[in-house]
Symmetry: C2
């Protein structure tokens, strides 16, 4: 009987995630019942949102329960099937979790038939929830207009790289905030950002002032903390601050709120929270548009793939919260 | 030659306002040139916004300069006129400042012909900028719909009492947050609020939870700090947080930001800043509607009038920041 390993939630983290918050459990590879199929997971998407899913309490989706397999977006191959819709060999995408094998009845699973020149992992990145988050956050929540200026924090991350490229495709000026000169170079030299601000070098406030002489119409914030706070001082009249996440704060017991929020009043601006799932009925339209941009080179899927064993999950996840990744962080399982 | 006294800004306050930030200056009552008139100020409106006007730096209007008469909304009588539009004896409203007498060419000045049963001071309160702030903040910025729930902080203040009454007139459920049992009684027993929360007694978080079982659709915040922060945990899906002011923070050197701002994401909510001056072209419509409510008793102008001498200005102003007033705080000058 072949065995399969999976990471289950063992404890709710207090502050920083520790490896002991997870438990690596081995169990037999499941057998499909009628209508079911078995997926061998090939790619696990690592997302800052995972930190939130580990907390108890009200959020936009139920928390992962203690003892449950840790939730994760994944790609995999069907290796056994008693389901008419999914055949052995199909490449599929679903929320299979941090596991080597998963049993599914097909609910919430999409088959991926990757177009020419598009890597399957793009479906976890720019053509997946990551890209959709950037797309709807920027265009619907942020109501970006051509010619406007976008400021994006976490700009070298999965969502940030997509936000900047989508903004350029829509005719905006884009300034990214990222940590370190390599990331900043990626933004300006490879992804077409108009400017990059390295928050690790030099005064953030001063750099923001110099790089946004005409202020900011849409501030897409993934980071929170002092970066959000300083960004608020650069809002143009009627600006939209899109709250996508707060990666700098997820591991904090005491979260820092943006003391400059009163700038919303001065600037007649709004700060808007959103959850991409609310746009599910429009995913196909967004994916179609982003696929065209991928094909014609206006959009690149920036991926940071760690090839390893499922053992590597906790340490790979940690990189998200320490600025260790560039673009979409994916754990590719080696067999 | 008769003399006139006025308070000029002497220093920019750091933190709490001190009397030494102002200077009481005596000068001859001005003489009108052709086209000008002289007003004897009768009522000085005291507004939390004054604290902001004393700071240097970018805001929604220019700061008061050092040496300038402190800016204030006022009522007064024309006592000398060489202007065709304004005659001696006219009751007028304008931004004459904290002064016993002012010279004007009529720009920005309105004659008040008070309707029956409406006190002239209502034009500094519910029919003035205070009421207009409540009206447009709640209805336009907050987009209140009948049947929704409104939470208002600083509920016993000038804007708060107006917000609650307007919300009731529009068919909403209203919960007010105020300091002390007397203020809370005013809200529920006299102004028709559905509930009042005394932030000075009992656990704020717990009271909020009990008083908003169906959560909050519009949170109209005048206060900031912990009251804003706790209110954010009670937002309904799609809630609007109207940022009108931050009285608890104006005197602080280190402002506390709302660490629960990430609830905007969970609740798909927005936090929106506004400045009432942007609605100037619609003031007449709002004043007409609020005048009708005043006449039919649905709206009351809650005024806290201090009768005294212009000397009393700094100490009266201080009451705004210590929870010392109920309703619209006005200094009525005794002659």
């Amino acid at each position: 009987m072949s065995m399969s390993r999976q990471w289950r939630l063992a404890a709710r983290p207090v502050g920083k995630i520790r490896e002991s918050d997870f438990e690596l459990v081995e169990a037999p590879v499941p057998e499909p019942a009628d209508g079911q199929f078995v997926v061998a997971v090939t790619h696990i998407s690592l997302d800052p949102a995972m930190r939130g899913w580990m907390n108890a309490g009200r959020s936009y989706i139920p928390p992962v329960e203690i003892g449950e397999v840790m939730r994760a977006l994944t790609l995999g191959r069907v290796i056994d099937s008693r389901n008419d819709q999914f055949a052995v060999g199909d490449l599929v995408q679903g929320v299979f979790g941090v596991t080597e094998h998963a049993l599914s009845d097909g609910a919430g699973v999409q088959e991926i038939t990757a177009a020419e020149g598009i890597s399957p992992t793009a479906y976890l990145g720019v053509l997946g929830i990551t890209g959709l988050t950037a797309y709807f956050g920027l265009l619907d929540v942020g109501r970006l207009q051509p010619g406007e200026t976008v400021l994006v924090s976490g700009a070298a991350g999965a969502v940030g790289t997509a936000v900047g490229q989508i903004a350029k495709a829509k005719g905006a000026r884009v300034i990214g905030i990222a940590g370190g000169s390599e990331k900043c170079q990626l933004l300006t030299d490879e992804l077409g950002f108009d400017a990059a601000i390295d928050y690790k070098h030099g005064d953030l406030k001063d750099q923001l002032r110099r790089r946004t002489p005409d202020r900011v119409d849409v501030f897409f914030d993934n980071i929170g903390g002092e970066i959000l706070n300083q960004g608020l001082t650069r809002l143009a009249h009627g600006a939209r601050v899109v709250i996508c996440g707060a990666v700098s704060q997820y591991n904090n017991v005491d979260v820092t709120g943006p003391s400059n929020y009163i700038q919303l009043l001065v600037s007649r601006a709004s700060m808007i929270g959103f959850v991409v799932f609310d746009y599910a009925d429009r995913y196909p339209q967004a994916i179609a548009e982003m696929s065209r941009w991928l094909s014609d080179g206006r959009l690149r899927s920036i991926e940071d793939t760690v090839r390893g064993d499922i053992d590597a999950f906790p340490s790979t996840l940690e990189r998200l919260f320490t600025g260790g990744n560039t673009g979409k962080l994916v754990l590719e399982l080696q067999k």
